[in-house]
Symmetry: C2
């Protein structure tokens, strides 16, 4: 439990009047204000369903009223296992409005993981999409949890696969609650987002109302969201609550365009028909869109702003998106930092550079967002900053209002993650002389060959320049002499061809030889639900039978 530090000699204001001059920070007030100020403006689009802000607020109010009728209130948890449909968007307001915390489950998880999260979070209700029902096996959950089936007329999913009411039946007959600030304490828990860890049990990252509000207001300021914003939901809403953008786009009175699945032709159609101004996606998603036949010859007008994260966009990605009429903003963060914490701000001077040079600068992760303030690259042993020389590696650390309040019911992991008053990201980076950080690796992914640290991203970027390469992942593999050497896993473009020898020679033309792959394997790459390449899967195979710790 937290008590605010108080300095009586300077602290002002009479407790009697606290309610007049201090309102607990919460994203709930963003919907409250938008529904009041822009009641008839388009709020949510999904297929041929359209809601204005008054309608969406009423829907959220009914959703919350039904939760309350079912006994949900302060301190409870409610889970959703849903794609980016309007009910998922509404849950980001309706669940917190009751005082409960939202648990948005990664829709690509296996039944055992889903069951673990429902039980660990002590969720009392779970809202399930018909297509995801197979992953929700309540026989594995010891605690008492009820299901609501969220059917989807737009997708033709009109039958309930699980026992329990349909959402429409469940919500029928209640009077909507007003949208207002129901939060007495801004450090109240707003949501729990389970990390899709590569090993061990998922950990429940706790967000507070205060953190989410500041994040949302800061995103509006930083990304220039406004009434004219039309936001396409390509980023999963279960991913850090959609990087807090359900609250930010709502606060700005923009329009949410919901999307069931990431299918490039539909994305391209929606961008043009709904006049989409913004979407988010990992570089993998950008590559899918740029490479789709439906994108050929298309230049979006007006231009679209895309926030990308999860991996740095390669210079080649940035060039392709530019040609498509897309301006890429590179963000970086983790579930533990409410999604993005770092933004690659464009400096005025960069405008005079070639696209190639700009792309190089923009592939760096960058500087703190306006609301995140604190970012350093430090030696985790000594907690001293590395020199800003663009070469010395250290661990990326963050702190402040954009950092989680801890892991649910895991004091030990919380203490490790937040030790020394900073969140330890586990990512390795360098600090450039201009104050921009550049990720060099996940600390668990670092390759040490002959005592030299090798950044797998640097090697990957070099290989991405090869015209036949669609995707590449670099890992270290065991070597008698060097400890580890570099191996590349490559997916080629459809119809393209290249040999291992060609790839190696191509790389040796570009970067220091000891960093180049000794071997290349071709094939599909294993990926997480959010499009991150799962290097640990590759590593497990390569290191089987050795003593090296495989993360």
């Amino acid at each position: 439990m937290v008590d605010q530090p108080v300095r009586p000699e300077a602290h002002v204001g009479d407790a009697e009047h606290l309610g007049a001059f201090s309102d607990p920070l919460t994203p709930l007030v963003l919907l409250q204000r938008t529904a009041r100020v822009f009641p008839t403006k388009e709020a949510v689009v999904y297929g041929d369903e359209r809601m204005d802000w008054a309608g969406f607020a009423e829907f959220v109010g009914r959703f919350a009223a039904a939760l309350k009728r079912d006994g949900i209130g302060l301190g409870d948890r409610v889970a959703v296992m849903l794609p980016n449909v309007p009910v998922h968007l509404a849950s980001t307001f309706a669940v917190p409005l009751t005082g409960a915390a939202l648990v948005a489950i990664n829709t690509r998880l296996a039944p055992a993981e889903v069951a673990y999260i429902i039980e660990h979070s002590r969720s009392k209700l779970v809202f399930v999409d018909p297509e995801l029902a197979g992953q929700v096996d309540l026989s594995r959950v010891a605690s008492d949890v009820r299901v609501v089936n969220v059917l989807d007329r737009q997708a033709g999913l009109t039958d309930s696969p699980l026992p329990g009411p349909t959402f429409d039946d469940w919500i029928a007959g209640v009077d909507p609650l007003p949208i207002e600030n129901t939060v007495a304490d801004e450090f109240q828990m707003l949501s729990i987002n389970y990390t899709s860890g590569t090993t061990g049990r998922p950990k429940g990252v706790m967000y507070t109302h205060r953190g989410a509000y500041l994040n949302a207001l800061g995103e509006i300021a930083s990304l220039r969201f406004g009434q004219e914003t039309v936001f396409l939901w390509t980023l999963p809403m279960f991913h850090c609550n959609g990087w807090c953008m359900p609250w930010a786009v709502t606060g700005a009175a923009g329009t949410h365009v919901c999307l069931r699945a990431v299918r490039p032709p539909e994305i391209i159609r929606l961008i043009q028909e709904e006049r989409v101004t913004n979407f988010n996606g990992a570089p993998t998603v950008l590559r899918m869109i740029a490479g789709d036949p439906a994108a050929q010859g298309v230049v979006f007008e007006p231009r679209v702003r895309v926030c990308t994260g999860g991996a740095p966009p390669s210079p080649a990605d940035l060039k392709k998106m530019d040609a498509l009429g897309v301006d890429v903003t590179h963000l970086y963060g983790l579930t533990e930092t409410y999604g993005p914490h770092v933004i690659c701000e464009i400096q005025d001077e960069w405008r005079g550079l070639s696209l190639e040079e700009r792309a190089e600068l923009m592939s760096r992760q960058g500087v703190p967002y306006i609301f995140s303030t604190y970012l350093r690259v430090a030696d985790p042993e000594t907690m001293e900053d590395v020199p800003a020389d663009g070469a010395t590696m250290g661990e990326v650390m963050m702190r402040g209002n954009n950092v989680m309040a801890g892991y649910l019911d895991d004091t030990e992991a919380t203490a490790t993650a937040l030790c020394g008053g900073w969140f330890h990201s586990g990512d390795l980076a360098v600090m450039h002389p201009d104050g921009y950080i550049e990720l060099r690796d996940r600390s668990k992914d670092v390759i040490i060959s002959g005592g030299e640290n090798i950044s797998s991203i640097e090697v990957e970027n070099a290989i991405y320049e090869h015209p036949a390469v669609h995707e590449v992942a670099i890992i270290g593999v065991p070597d008698e002499k060097w400890g580890e050497v570099v191996k590349a896993f490559v997916t080629l473009k459809p119809g393209a061809s290249a040999t291992a020898e060609e790839i190696i020679a191509f790389t040796r033309d570009r970067i220091t030889h000891f960093k180049c792959p000794r071997s290349v394997e071709f094939g599909d790459l294993p990926k997480t639900s959010t499009g991150k390449i799962q290097k640990y899967v590759l590593r497990e195979k390569e290191w089987a039978g050795t003593k090296k710790l495989v993360n």
Copy 2:
């Protein structure tokens, strides 16, 4: 003293890790971040002086270090009696950085009032401009206060009129403090802004670090400040700390263009030469600019965004500014709400209307800002909202993070102003069916004639349409039969002429007859330093010898 309400059942986060996930809110971090991210970008322009953000941060750091050397710290107060020069801008960061509160004195006040404010605030230091030295008479101040003379090479003011060092000498030889968050408690006092009350002693309105930070971040979000913003300082920085815009423009990494005095030809020149994107000013200032010979034939390109407040812009003002290439945003608030609390948001549907119709809608004060949330028009007796019928008058009330923490050392006035958990503005308004408020009068200015309430603004707007009228003020004057009747005080445009009979006939063609002036007097209007017409001066003369309370 305030303790945050705590709900143990939902409150999350371990006190041990508080520093990792909760940072006290303060505008200091906005400069910290901007100086780190945009060190070489232009920060401050004043005549031929130019500073980049690294330079400005270093200047602020030296300023704060010199304050500290002089014993200034937590709980102290430091006053400035300065026009909008760089030292004033720097003081909005340097003083809070030491833990002290800034007292920015209205530069048009008389010596007795200035002395009262210095003494009442217990300011230990006062920074004085040579041209304002005549108003700073320390022989009237009982407490111990030292003067620093802030000379101004740009204005040719190079001699110290008061005993005490020059700013340059005073600041020499110190090592700059780093710009960082020195605030342990976000409810710490940041500044004290004395209201220029029409009667009685000025009251010291207390701002907190939390309130100012949220206001600044919200202004960036709402007014779309960014790196490209070039902000011209026409609004006095002593007015609600420049509506918190020293912090907002800094947080956005825009550029401040300082300005010693409001002189239309220089404003017009600076807008064009410095490519100004934003400035603020009361309608009086806008009229001065639009009416200046230097503005004839000018259309600013790109267009300039002006926030106006203090009085509603008349439809005629809006039309003139539009022709000049200026987009007007109408804001409303009071010193007690950190400046603006209300914004007249433009709805999409308005774009289809004629300029005339739009101007009518835009002259209303509007709806809550994104960060101010709470706004109502209520009966101060019953605290019930008036119906949203655009006709029933009530008092405008606000609450939330954008409301002052109280009046310094004035428990009684604080309790009256914040009673019932809402700040009572003293302004009368109606609530329109679309949720927009429209001010009808200061409650103390209301004219009651034959039992009917008359809105002086409505009468003034009608008279402003007369082609010969430059400015007008409406008050009630004593009348045997009706209690009060309406009288107009009019300033004509240079070279224009009109008779009282013509003005009255013109008004009777436009509004209900009982609201029309019975008499018209021609001449200059008395004004406050911020350009507000001082109706009480007019009223005092008219009501001399009667029993009516003159405010």
